[in-house]
């Protein structure tokens, strides 16, 4: 052959290869909810860049609300079209599952986000600064707290309308998280929703230092958790030669199709599987706030702007439990006997620690944080049930819990004194006499947290306990009722403060909110009562959504 020919073959080699690469097939219709939210988030950033400052607030609010509503509509459309049951599929080249649990949880996240946008947009609670109405967020996030730049920003009446696109990015990550069908997508989704949340946590208008401290803590500990998850993913790849859920499950169950040559030495090594699985679970348990990975919860809940806390407490829990369920039920079911004892331990300490430590709290946001830990324990009791009713009970509980949480934190934003929100419990004394309606609404949320019948909290608690008992975890039910009894004590304590004690002179006042927060609270109350009195429709919904696609 001539030298020319070899050169030519080189050219042809490099020219031929790309032709074999196929364009990825993306099921746009099935992924529409995620795409809509991401698109709106990008659009929101453009709005920040190009629109004049005075037009941004209304544009951003509207954009976020419309995007979330249309994403929700497409989720409902998908579910109505049978994509949750008969037409469930794995989309996006194996990276995302579109099935019952994913759609149910995406719907819940979107509902929560929609209500959260209302509280984000609230501008009547804080007294107007220099004639401009302001919200709960810092005037200029980058300005040093108390510095000249901040004062100038406040004086100019700046507001951080960036919170809306940031929120949308977080929502996009939260939508992907419970649907992720391989470990890398899971990790990317985790980062996509975590980073915006870290930023949101740092944005409180009042008590900025506390807020920034919370954000740094959240970020550092969250980074650790992400690292655990990533390390676990790597080990899992070493074990299975793949990161897709279905592929790993196949290797675990033993019907291996083909050996991945690059990791042939380590494939099937159980040590990698167990360590990798444990690290992944740790990363997820951090996000749900289970003991012993709960340390960040109280500080972050307290420091973050209250609307953000409400959103985060509700939506992160929903998404993270979704991801946890999928890992345990799709990837690791063959390992039930390996992870069960450990998870039992986690469930028990989570329920007990959350309830016991909450008793000593004096700040209402920290109290709700510890209560969220205890609730994570209750939900985990349903997770470890490993029965179909376990899945549906967890789905239902998450729906019920998120709206109680959103509502409760929305009420917290109303009780204020000169320094902003009055979160110390001593300031809540006598609230029932001063503003009976607000106190009564908060009491409803507290009773729902405590799991009193005729509220959604009771239905949810019964559902998970029932699932746990059916799954042979009667002991968890007993620990669950004991910690419920302990938890009841501190919910009742708040009710005592509000209703049975005389108001103190110079106590806080209740700000009159605009229709936005009022709607958010009303939705919370309505969901709490409806799920308590007539939950059958939603139980059906959760029951139909209870099957994972592989």
């Amino acid at each position: 052959m001539s030298p020319m020919a070899s050169v030519h073959s080189l050219w042809t080699l490099s020219a031929e290869e790309p032709l074999n690469v196929q364009a990825p097939e993306i099921e746009y219709a099935q992924l529409a909810p995620i795409l809509i939210v991401v698109g709106a988030a990008v659009l929101g950033i453009l709005v920040e860049a190009f629109l004049p400052r005075r037009a941004r607030y209304h544009t951003q609010t509207l954009l976020a609300a419309v995007a979330l509503a249309s994403a929700l509509a497409s989720v409902i459309g998908l579910a109505a079209g049978g994509h949750g049951t008969t037409k469930a599929l794995v989309a996006g080249m194996g990276s995302l599952a579109v099935d019952g649990p994913a759609l149910f949880l995406q719907g819940t996240v979107l509902l929560v986000a929609l209500v959260a946008v209302l509280t984000f947009a609230e501008r009547r609670l804080d007294p107007a600064a220099h004639g401009k109405r302001v919200d709960s967020f810092a005037a200029q996030a980058a300005a040093t707290p108390g510095g000249a730049a901040e004062q100038a920003a406040v004086k100019a009446g700046f507001t951080t309308t960036e919170v809306f696109p940031i929120l949308l990015f977080a929502v996009a990550g939260l939508l992907v998280f419970p649907a992720a069908n391989d470990l890398l997508t899971l990790f990317v989704a985790l980062e996509v929703f975590s980073l915006p949340l870290y930023v949101l946590c740092a944005l409180a208008r009042r008590q900025r230092l506390l807020s920034q401290e919370a954000a740094v803590k959240y970020f550092l500990l969250g980074a650790f958790a992400s690292a655990f998850l990533l390390f676990g993913t790597a080990l899992m790849y070493g074990y299975a030669g793949t990161v897709t859920y279905g592929g790993i499950a196949q290797v675990i169950s033993g019907d291996l199709q083909q050996v991945e040559p690059s990791v042939a030495d380590t494939m099937g090594n159980d040590a990698l599987l167990l360590i990798g699985g444990a690290l992944i679970l740790m990363g997820l348990l951090f996000k749900v706030g289970a003991v012993p990975f709960h340390m960040w919860t109280p500080d972050v809940y307290q420091g973050a702007p209250t609307p953000v806390t409400g959103f985060m407490a509700a939506a992160t829990k929903v998404a993270a439990f979704g991801a946890l369920l999928r890992i345990l039920y799709v990837v690791l079911p063959g390992l039930r006997w390996d992870w069960r004892p450990v998870m039992w331990g986690v469930v028990i300490v989570t329920m007990l620690v959350g309830a016991i430590v909450a008793v000593t709290q004096t700040d209402v946001k920290r109290l709700l944080a510890y209560s969220s830990i205890a609730h994570a324990g209750f939900i985990l009791a349903g997770v470890v049930a490993t029965t179909p009713s376990g899945i549906s009970s967890v789905l239902f509980y998450l729906l019920a819990y998120s709206f109680v949480t959103l509502g409760a934190f929305a009420v917290v934003t109303l009780v204020r004194d000169a320094g902003g929100e009055a979160t110390h419990l001593s300031k809540w004394v006598g609230l029932g006499r001063r503003s009976p309606l607000v106190a009564a609404v908060f009491a409803i949320f507290l009773l729902a947290f405590a799991g009193i019948p005729l509220t959604s909290g009771f239905t949810g608690k019964f559902a998970v306990f029932k699932a746990a008992a059916e799954g042979g975890a009667g002991a968890l039910v007993v620990v669950g009722v004991v910690s419920s009894a302990i938890a009841a004590f501190f919910y009742i304590r708040v009710i005592v403060l509000m209703f049975f004690n005389e108001p103190q002179p110079g106590g806080p006042s209740v700000a009159v909110p605009s229709a936005l927060t009022t709607t958010a609270i009303a939705v919370g109350v309505a969901v709490t009562v409806v799920l308590g009195v007539a939950p059958q429709y939603f139980l059906d919904l959760a029951g139909q959504a209870g099957v994972f696609v592989r």
């Binding site: 029932g432 001063r434 029932k466 002179p505 059958q536």
Partner: protein, 542 residues
């Protein structure tokens, strides 16, 4: 489909509660009348329930059944047997009197109006709240008495704690020896203690309810809470519970009921709650709400877990016996009138539990009658005591003396209430106490004899109470104490008339109760012990 009478009897007070709460803040009298009319309407409905109830008919009558939460196997199932019907009657009967007696209890104190500084908000409406909460309790109690679905019962058994908690904690007795602040502290303590005790019991019961579901789901194919379905399945041998499972479930249920009843040693919340709340609320607690506990023992403990009930009987009888004697002894030693009545109630609840677990037809009929009669007699005694206390502003026995000289009608009604409490023949409680003792004696003679000591002690605490407060020289501090006002007399007189009527003619009550008791006894597969008379004596008698 026939008219859902039982639902209506529960919905009416609930609707009344909402209507009462909705009355504008300034129109307190309108709120009171709304509440009173709602309670009278409920009384009419309860009367219809009793009239429609056929003693010889089906076990559960006026039944209603609707799908509710299919996922949990829960149905909205109502139905009454004679016991439930009698207790619904009692509840509806007492309620107008409770409301009438509490007519002024929630009015804001005069001094609070004028005080400057920090006044309660414009929307603070204690009167509306007080009566609305009372009606809420009534609605929930009625549903509990009518529920034949365990889950449905549990929901209202638990939910009624919340309005009751607000009644105890939010509307305390103003007659307190210490300062207002101290009174508020005591009241809060009582309310929290009440709620925590009962909530703890309820949560333990929740575990047992979940367990019951798991057992039925495991054995019947689908989980169910229907009392009738479970009892039938047990009778047909479809549902076999392991011995340990049955005992644990029984204990879970019984624990909750024993707290509510209340049985020694779980009774300690009652004196606090009754002492610190207003007299009408104290009556609501002991005469109405606590009956749900003893009623549930009969309906659910014995019905669902016959074997375990049998197993636990000796221990429960001993606890009941301790309640009888210990409650009575502590009543003798009390210095506070309302706490004395509370301990007397502990003693009486001991009798009720004794009658239930003696497992004889006289014992259980007696226990059911006892629930009704104790409700009425305690209502008389407590409400009149409340009238007395409101006059002097003190609950201490030592602050009274010679009241019968200045307020003879008050003293007289108080005496009748007291005599009913000590079960004087001719008054209603005598019949029930006698039946309980006879029923107990025929199976457990020794326990019957010891229980009789309760009667002697009852005579002691009632008569000493009367002697110290009503007789002797008139205390200076009493001043010119007014006698019973017409409203107060309207509370006391009908109840006293009823006590006398049921004392001499208890048949209308026993007629509806007895068939239900027979059914309950057949659930636990017990028959009355045969009279133990040697055969030759019979021969000789012939």
């Amino acid at each position: 489909m026939s008219f859902p009478l039982l639902t209506a009897a529960a919905v009416l007070p609930a609707a009344g509660a909402i209507a009462t709460a909705a009355v504008p803040a300034a129109r307190r009298t309108a709120a009171k009348w709304t509440a009173l009319i709602a309670s009278l309407g409920t009384l009419v409905l309860a009367g219809v329930v009793l009239a429609r109830f056929e003693p010889g008919g089906d076990r559960y009558q006026l039944t209603e059944s609707h799908a509710w939460i299919a996922d949990f196997g829960v149905r909205y199932e109502l139905g009454v047997d004679g016991i439930g019907a009698a207790l619904i009657g009692l509840t509806a009967l007492l309620m107008p009197f409770i409301i009438l007696a509490g007519w002024r209890d929630a009015d804001p104190a005069e001094e609070a109006e004028g005080a400057g500084g920090d006044r309660p908000g414009r929307r603070w409406r204690p009167v509306q709240g007080f009566f609305a909460l009372i009606l809420m309790v009534e609605a929930m109690v009625i549903i509990s008495f009518a529920a034949t679905d365990v889950f449905l019962f549990y929901i209202f058994f638990e939910a009624m704690l919340i309005p009751m908690y607000f009644l105890i904690g939010g509307f305390g007795d103003r007659a307190h020896a210490q300062s207002d602040e101290e009174a508020a502290k005591q009241r809060t303590y009582a309310a929290v203690k009440f709620l925590l005790y009962n909530l703890a019991g309820g949560l333990i019961m929740l575990a047992a309810v979940v367990g019951l579901y798991a057992v039925t789901a495991d054995q019947l194919g689908e989980g169910t809470f229907s009392l009738q379905r479970i009892v039938e399945a047990r009778a047909a041998g479809e549902l076999e519970m392991a011995v340990t499972t049955e005992r644990l479930l029984f204990l879970g249920f019984f624990f909750a009921f024993a707290i509510k009843a209340p049985l020694w040693p779980l009774h300690t919340w009652l004196p606090n709650a009754m002492g610190e709340s207003t007299a009408p609320v104290a009556v609501l607690i002991t005469a109405v709400m606590d009956k749900v506990g003893t009623f549930a023992m009969l309906r659910f403990c014995l019905g669902l877990f016959p074997g375990a009930s049998d197993w636990a009987t000796p221990v429960i009888l001993v606890l009941a016996l301790i309640s009888i004697v210990y409650g009575a002894l502590l009543a003798v030693g009390q210095r506070d009138i309302k706490r004395l009545i509370a301990y007397a109630s502990v003693s009486h609840f001991g009798f009720i539990v004794l009658g239930i677990f003696a497992m004889t037809s006289q014992g259980q009929s007696g226990a059911t009658l006892y629930m009704v009669n104790h409700g009425i007699s305690t209502a008389v005694l407590m409400l009149v005591a409340g009238f007395l206390i409101s006059r002097r502003g003190s609950r201490l026995i030592a602050d009274y003396g010679g009241v019968q000289k200045v307020a003879p009608v008050l003293a007289g009604t108080f005496l009748i209430g007291g005599l009913a409490t000590l079960s004087l023949p001719g008054l209603a409680p005598f019949v029930s106490e006698f039946l309980v003792l006879v029923g107990t004696f025929s199976r457990y003679p020794v326990i019957g004899i010891i229980a009789t000591a309760g009667i002697v002690l009852a005579a002691l605490y009632v008569l000493v109470l009367y002697q110290r407060t009503m007789t002797g020289p008139v205390k200076e501090s009493l001043g010119r104490m007014p006698d019973l006002r017409p409203r107060e007399l309207a509370v006391a007189a009908p109840l006293i008339a009823l006590l006398i009527f049921l004392g001499v003619f208890p048949r209308p009550l026993t007629e509806i109760v007895n068939p239900a008791v027979e059914h309950t006894l057949s659930d636990v597969r017990k028959t009355d012990p045969r009279p133990d008379v040697p055969a030759q004596d019979l021969e000789a008698a012939k």
